[in-house]
């Protein structure tokens, strides 16, 4: 089975806590993440700030930009406008490339803890794909991922299915691996101390008690 490529998401948020959370949400959803703290940094990464960036956009293609709305300096809205109106030198050389290679075509999603309708309208009008209310949930991220997958590549359905399968298998493998090494460690201790072995059930961490839907 062909290994599906992971989506690469550029996350922009001035809050360190929120960056940590969004990174985790994206990693669980099997996305590569680049998290930056400001619109300026995001533009640098995308090579849009006029300066030469060591990261070529062709080398690390971004499939989705997820940005907070309220940030000091450049707001998420301003960042959105800059991206949607961007015309880079790359555009001139794109002949038979996929449409999504063009920076301005990269979907941008705005996040905010405030549900202000005029704000939402303004962002959507400017070309934002969606507006997410914070705190962002795993279901939001998965939905976004699936949406992006549907828009990427020719074999959309196959790619989408592959990524979902690989993603759930990967998580299970990591879980099994960690559980196994933990269990064997416990068994070793018990062998030495000759006490009765604990059942494997009691090894389940609290987080396993409530599985996400």
């Amino acid at each position: 089975m062909e290994m599906a490529q992971e989506l690469h998401v550029l996350a922009v948020d001035d809050s360190h806590v929120d960056r940590k959370v969004i990174e985790r949400l994206l990693k669980i959803s099997c996305c590569k993440v680049t998290a930056v703290e400001s619109g300026t940094r995001a533009l640098q990464y995308l090579g849009l700030d006029g300066e030469k960036s060591s990261m070529g956009i062709d080398g690390l293609k971004v499939n989705l930009i997820l940005t907070d709305y309220s940030m000091p300096g450049m707001t998420g809205y301003e960042l959105l406008k800059k991206i949607k109106s961007s015309l880079t030198v790359n555009d001139a050389f794109i002949l038979v490339e996929q449409e999504s290679s063009v920076l301005s075509k990269i979907p941008v999603v705005i996040m905010s803890s405030e549900k202000i309708l005029p704000r939402i309208d303004r962002c959507l009008e400017e070309g934002a794909e969606e507006f997410l209310l914070k705190p962002v949930k795993l279901s939001d991220v998965k939905r976004l991922r699936d949406f992006i997958l549907r828009g990427e590549g020719d074999d959309n359905k196959e790619t989408e299915k592959n990524i979902k399968q690989v993603c759930s298998r990967k998580r299970k493998f990591q879980d099994d691996l960690a559980t196994q090494s933990m269990l064997s460690a416990v068994v070793t201790v018990h062998d030495i101390e000759l006490s009765s072995p604990e059942s494997s059930e009691s090894q389940q961490p609290l987080s396993k008690q409530s599985k996400i839907g």
Binding site: H16, R24, V189, P205, Q209
Partner: protein, 147 residues
Amino acid sequence: MENQKKRQAAYMKRSLLDQGYLDEQFIHLEELQDDANPNFVEEVVKSYYTDSARYVRNIELALENGPYDFARLDNMMYQFKGSSSSIGARRVKRQCSQFQEYCNAKNIEGCRNIFQEVKQEYDTLKTKLETYFQLLQQKCYYREHMI
């Protein structure tokens, strides 16, 4: 022994939720943990308290002497409230909202008073979460010493 600690931790979490210290966002964060990332929530909470200390300090300074920049106060509180919301700190978040209302009303005394409440909830939650994470760590004794 381990089952007892696990039960205590679960009981404490239930209690924190019932008393409104935490909301479902905390549960959502715990659901992001797995065997490969067992301490994610504790790390996020630690980050929260490290990062937000700055906001608390700056708000405190801004409340001391006039002229009072209510827009700036509101902005600082907005950021602090956002982080609090991200970890599910329900009571802290509620006091933050109250503070913002006093900002809008340009009521400095109101702001000062409510900020004392904010700090109290913030500190109380910190202590409770430290206890909670300690209870969780206890059951990882074998993991820490053998791996």
